[in-house]
C-alpha cells in the first residue's frame, strides 16, 4: 500500500490553490507565458546555490522575485510587448542554467522531484503560500480593475495603480518560486495556466471564475501527487497531464457566447 505523508499533501494543496488563484488574473492579463519565463529564472538561482553551498530553494525565491521586478520595470519602461521580453528572459536563463547546473541536478531542477523538505522550508512554503492566497483575494478588485481598464483604474492615482501591477507580478513570481519544488521549473508555468483556463471555459462570473480556479488548482495538484505516488511517476509531469486532461473535458462544457 502506498502512503502519502501529510507534508506532501499540504504543499500540493497550498501550491495548487495559490497557482490557480494567481493564474486567474495572469490569464486575463494575457501573460500566461510569463510564468514560464519566471520559473526558468530559477535555474541560475539553483546554480548559484549549488556553487556556494546554500539551499537552492532560497536561490530560486530570490531570483524569481528579482525577475518579477525586472519584467514589471521593462514593461513600464520599454515599448516591447511582454511576450518579446519573456522570449529573451526565458532562453537566457535556460542557457545559463544548463551551462552551470551539474548534470546530476538538472533533471530534478527541470521537472521537480519531491525530495523531502527541511522543516523551515515546509513551514515557509505552507505559510507563505497561504498568505499569498489571502493577498490575492484581498487585492482581487484592484488587480481586476487594472486588467479591465488600466486607464479607469489609474485616474488620479496612477502610482497606486502601478504598485498594484507590481504586487500582482511579485505574488505571481513568489508562487512560481514556491511551486518549483513540486513540479519543477519546466512545468511550473503550466500549473498557473491550467486551472484558470479550465475555469474560464465554464465560468460566467468573475467571483466564480477566481474561486473555481483556486479550487481546481488544489484538486489537480492533490490528484497528481496521488497518481504519481501510485504509478511511481514524477509528480510534476503527472500533475500537468492530469490538468490538461481535465481541460479537454471542460471543452465539452464551455459556455456559449451570444
Amino acid at each position: 500500500m502506498i502512503t502519502f505523508d501529510i507534508q506532501t499533501l499540504i504543499i500540493a494543496l497550498v501550491i495548487g490553490a495559490a497557482s490557480g488563484a494567481v493564474g486567474a488574473f495572469i490569464i486575463l492579463r494575457r501573460m500566461a507565458l510569463v510564468g514560464d519565463a519566471l520559473s526558468h529564472v530559477a535555474l541560475p538561482g539553483i546554480a548559484l546555490a549549488l556553487a556556494y553551498h546554500f539551499d537552492p530553494f532560497w536561490g530560486v525565491v530570490a531570483f524569481c522575485l528579482a525577475a518579477a521586478v525586472v519584467v514589471w520595470a521593462l514593461e513600464e519602461k520599454t515599448r516591447l510587448y511582454s511576450d518579446a521580453l519573456i522570449g529573451l528572459l526565458f532562453t537566457f536563463n535556460l542557457a545559463i542554467g544548463v551551462l552551470t547546473i551539474p548534470d546530476t541536478e538538472i533533471l530534478e531542477s527541470l521537472f521537480g522531484a519531491f525530495t523531502p523538505l527541511t522543516s523551515p522550508e515546509f513551514f515557509f512554503i505552507s505559510i507563505a503560500g497561504a498568505a499569498a492566497i489571502a493577498l490575492i483575494f484581498l487585492y482581487a478588485k484592484h488587480f481586476l480593475f487594472l486588467i479591465v481598464s488600466p486607464e479607469l483604474a489609474s485616474i488620479k492615482a496612477p502610482r497606486k495603480s502601478r504598485l498594484h501591477g507590481l504586487l500582482l507580478m511579485v505574488l505571481f513570481a513568489f508562487i512560481v518560486a514556491l511551486g518549483i519544488k513540486l513540479v519543477g521549473t519546466l512545468l511550473m508555468g503550466a500549473l498557473t495556466i491550467i486551472p484558470a483556463t479550465i475555469s474560464k471555459n465554464i465560468s460566467r462570473s468573475m467571483s466564480g471564475y477566481i474561486v473555481m480556479s483556486a479550487v481546481l488548482g488544489a484538486l489537480i495538484s492533490l490528484a497528481g501527487v496521488f497518481a504519481a505516488g501510485m504509478l511511481h511517476f514524477l509528480p510534476g509531469p503527472t500533475i500537468i497531464i492530469l490538468g490538461i486532461a481535465l481541460f479537454g473535458i471542460s471543452l465539452f462544457f464551455t459556455r456559449k457566447f451570444q
Binding site: 482581487a140 481586476l144 486607464e151 479607469l152 468573475m206 451570444q258
Partner: protein, 240 residues
C-alpha cells in the same frame, strides 16, 4: 465667481516621444458648466483628457479645485466576449468591497441604472455580451456612480446608432441639470456642441479658440480649425 472655478489650465503642453501633442492650451471651467472640446482627428483632444486625469505628464499649470471627484467615460472600452465579468461585478470594482458588497451599494446601483434607462436584470449579464448602446449607458452609469463633481466624456456616442446617440445626450443633459455636474465633452458633432455646450474649446495641437458656441463657431474659426472646404453641420437654433 472665483470660488466657482473648479479647473484652471494655463499653458499646458504635452510631449510624447519628443513629439508635441498639445501646445500652450489654456482655459477655465466653472461649476455646472458644459464645455465641449472640438478639433480634427489627431488634434490632441483625448491627450488633453489624459493630462486632466493625471495619466500623462505635462508642462504648464493644471489645477483642479481641491477635493473634486472626477468621473470618466473613455473613448474606447473593449472587452472580450469570453471575459467572465458580469455587469454587477464591473460596478463592484468601484465598491469598497468586491467579495461581499453591502445591500446599500446594490440598491444604489439599481437606482443609478434606472437613471440611464436600464433595468436591474442587466446586472447578471456578462459585460462582453452587451450591445454598443448598452455598454455606453453602463459606462456612463459607472462614471456617475459615486456622484462625481465633474464628468469627462470622450466622444461618448462613437460607434453607436443615431437613436441611441440621442438617448445618450438626453441622459447626459438630465444628469447635468439634476445634479449640477460639470461636463467636459469631446465631440465631433457640432450639432451636439450647439445644443448642449455652454462653452467650446477648439484645439488642433495648439489652442484655436475658446468661448460661447454662437460667438466663436463661425466659418472663419471652423476653417482655421479643420482646414478650408470642410462640411459643417447646421447649428440647431436653440439650446435646450
Amino acid at each position: 465667481m472665483e470660488s466657482d472655478l473648479i479647473l484652471e489650465v494655463k499653458n499646458i503642453s504635452v510631449e510624447v516621444d519628443h513629439e508635441t501633442i498639445l501646445k500652450n492650451v489654456s482655459f477655465e471651467v466653472r461649476r455646472g458648466e458644459a464645455l465641449a472640446i472640438i478639433g480634427p482627428n489627431g488634434a490632441g483632444k483625448t491627450m488633453l483628457f489624459r493630462a486632466l486625469l493625471g495619466l500623462v505628464s505635462h508642462t504648464g499649470e493644471l489645477d483642479w479645485k481641491k477635493g473634486i471627484q472626477i468621473g470618466y467615460v473613455p473613448q474606447k472600452f473593449v472587452i472580450d466576449k469570453s471575459f467572465p465579468l458580469t455587469v454587477r461585478e464591473f460596478f463592484l470594482l468601484k465598491s469598497p468591497r468586491f467579495w461581499m458588497p453591502d445591500k446599500g451599494f446594490i440598491a444604489h446601483l439599481e437606482h443609478e441604472l434606472s437613471l440611464v434607462g436600464l433595468g436591474k436584470e442587466i446586472l447578471s449579464r456578462p459585460l462582453g455580451e452587451l450591445s454598443g448602446g448598452q455598454m455606453q449607458r453602463i459606462l456612463i452609469s459607472s462614471a456617475m456612480l459615486n456622484h462625481p463633481d465633474v464628468l469627462l466624456f470622450d466622444e461618448p456616442t462613437a460607434g453607436i446608432d443615431v437613436g441611441a446617440e440621442q438617448t445618450i445626450y438626453t441622459i447626459l443633459h438630465t444628469l447635468q441639470k439634476e445634479r449640477g455636474t460639470t461636463v467636459l465633452l469631446i465631440s465631433h458633432d457640432l450639432n451636439v456642441v450647439y445644443k448642449y455646450a455652454d462653452n467650446v474649446l477648439c484645439i488642433n495641437k495648439a489652442m484655436i479658440c475658446h468661448g460661447r458656441p454662437k460667438e466663436i463657431l463661425n466659418p472663419q474659426e471652423l476653417s482655421r480649425l479643420y482646414g478650408g472646404g470642410g462640411f459643417y453641420h447646421h447649428p440647431v437654433e436653440e439650446k435646450i
